[in-house]
Amino acid sequence: MEVLKIATAGSVDDGKSTLIGRILYDTKSLTSDKLEAIEKTSKQKGYDYLDFSLATDGLVAEREQGITIDVAHIYFSTAKKSYIIADTPGHVEYTRNMVTGASTSQAAIILIDARKGVIEQTNRHFFINNLLRVKDVVVAINKMDLVDFSEERYNEIKADFSELMGKRDYQDQNITFIPVSALKGDNVVNRSENTNWYKGQTLLEHLEDLDMAAVSNIGTPRFPVQYVIRPKTEDFHDFRGFAGKVYGGELSVGDEVVALPSQTKSKIKEIYFYDKKYQTASRRSSVTITLEDEINVSRGDMLVKVGDLPSIDKQFTATISWMDSEKLKAGNKYMVQHGVNKVLAKVDAIHHKINPDYSGIDKEVSALGMNDIAEVSFKLNKPIFFDAFKKHRTNGSFILIDTKSNSTVGAGFILAP
């Protein structure tokens, strides 16, 4: 079964939780006990409609404040696909949750309140999904029932949003506009009678038709070694298997590979998935590889095809999404976790910060605070093997770990060595 991960973005009260609840309801994914709980609570609160947001707002604090404050995952499936929705908050303070949700998603839904149109936060929602190179974006223009399902209003918002699209860095992103009412159910799963002027697909029809290969980021094969398997049993006395996940492309038996950082060459001898041998390891499969030659490979090393080397360098420049209340400053030291590899890094320079409304950049910047997005150079204590993020989503990204608190304090997308 194919699994499609979807990030959602919208401002407070744009109706994101309601939209997700509506999808669950109309695909009959809400179980009777959950539906019963929603009906009961909606009635208690005196609503004359079902409050679907109750299906997703999980934490006590959220119920008290009536807002979503952290990434929640919602699951449903159709005959065609399994879906995982990352429900990420649209609050201006919570950029980090949006970046997190988008990092594992192939598609995103950006919500716009039809009454309010494109607002400052819409810039941010779009910019982040573009920065993270989420392939498919649906702009759901919600609450159409409150603007009398006006085609004119829909076209106005579409035109405003298209202006943002001109500024985007990642031009290959597919963008689709859909007029919906999450509360009433128009064009979410079922086609609306109220928008006869709209000839496109409903939200679910669009997601159902997405080709998984087309929305995946395919690059060149990279195999970061996670773990070395040495059973030391009689049957497998000399077995040395390199366990890891294949990213970007495929690897096959007989492929000539280079181990990094040693730059030693060898050939792939066997590919195992559990106890069975295969000819080819496909993208994103967790396999165990053995090599023809006995070479020294350990966790954090990487196998790549001969003639297809990544950058091997002790410095790089990256776009950073800062996620911590302690500020990032030039000279600060962090642990960089690049895939499964960890190295110490020092902030060399902060070049510029992206303005919160994405109107431009600010070059006069000495420190980064929570939710800032900026271009930063790092120096490392040993080389890592990376690609630019735009070429390789996995091998071009990293996280920053605070060496004192051990927290994940930032995410980075490598621009160039």
Partner: protein, 299 residues
């Protein structure tokens, strides 16, 4: 993989997580309850490390109120795997006066497991505890990370969780902290059952329809047993039932069912409209029941 019929992204993700645990931690342990989710974890761990054995022990926090079928199954599985099994008993914590047995109509030992678990983590200095929780089970679980850091007191600070980006798992912790790891976070109940079917994984017999003495209370089907409090007017009936989830006898309700094999169980789950935790009596206590237990260190 080519020449495989089926690539399962969830399976690949879980195997990746198991390997990260083995590489990033010194003393991991797999928490094994004998339920279908922890049995699925064991199969995934086998796949992650083959041809080597699973490189960490299994641990069962035994409430003493388990279904006998589960215990027999557990012992058989551990023998086949050739891995170490650690058992720690809730009864010991009760005898030592560390926890007080609940009494009354809804009494259960389920929440008492927390103390025994935390004691065992301290005793063995475990730094990673792998569990079979899934985000689709319950609303508070939906926000849980794959690597979820707990402090010295086993507490979950839901407002201060580490963001998890791409595939990168940050397992850096201080001495005294530990990480709860959930390799099948992204699986649904149906995903687990379909996997059990496809992989032909053996599971305890109580998951299949069988004749059992039961009684009805609050619309749920309770097992008639010495461990479960029963009022005089609650009539004992004998019916065909099965369990969708297997916890301790005092907190697991049955469903009426004729599904006697895995294929019919999968079909029943597909058709069913009551979520799995609907059959967990412990969650019915209040809207925020799970979140409260988690903050106290429950799995």
């Amino acid at each position: 993989m080519k020449n495989t019929s089926h690539i399962n992204p969830l399976e690949n993700e879980a195997i990746y997580i198991f390997r990260e645990v083995a590489a990033q931690f010194e003393k991991p342990v797999l928490l094994f309850s004998g339920g279908k989710d922890s049995i699925t974890l064991v199969r995934l761990a086998q796949k992650a490390f083959w041809p080597a054995k699973i490189p960490f022990p299994l641990m069962h926090i035994d409430t003493g109120h388990n279904f006998p079928e589960t215990i027999a199954f557990r012992d058989k599985l551990v023998k086949e795997l050739g891995v170490e099994l650690i058992v720690r008993n809730v009864q010991d914590a009760i005898d030592q006066g560390k926890v007080k047995e609940e009494s009354g109509k809804y009494s259960s030992r389920n929440s008492l497991q927390t103390t025994t678990l935390l004691d065992a983590i301290e005793e063995f200095k475990f730094d990673a505890c792998i569990g079979g929780a899934r985000r689709d089970e319950e609303k508070a679980r939906a926000k849980e990370r794959i690597f979820s850091v707990r402090d010295d007191f086993g507490q979950w600070d839901e407002k201060n969780q580490r963001p998890e980006l791409f595939d990168m798992l940050n397992g850096q912790i201080e001495l005294g902290q530990n990480v709860r790891v959930f390799p099948i976070s992204n699986w649904t109940e149906l995903d687990v059952w379909s996997y059990i079917e496809k992989e032909e994984i053996e599971i305890p017999s109580i998951y299949f329809a069988h004749k059992r003495k039961i009684f009805l209370r609050d619309g749920l089907i309770w097992s008639h047993s010495d461990y479960v409090y029963q009022e005089d007017n609650e009539e004992v009936l004998e019916r065909m039932v099965r369990f969708r989830t297997v916890g301790d006898m005092s907190c697991t309700a049955a469903v009426f069912s004729d599904a006697a094999d895995i294929a019919s169980v999968v079909q029943e789950i597909r058709d069913s409209s009551i979520s799995e935790r609907g059959a967990r009596i412990d969650d019915k206590r209040s809207e925020a029941a799970m979140e409260k237990r988690k903050q106290q260190g429950y799995f």
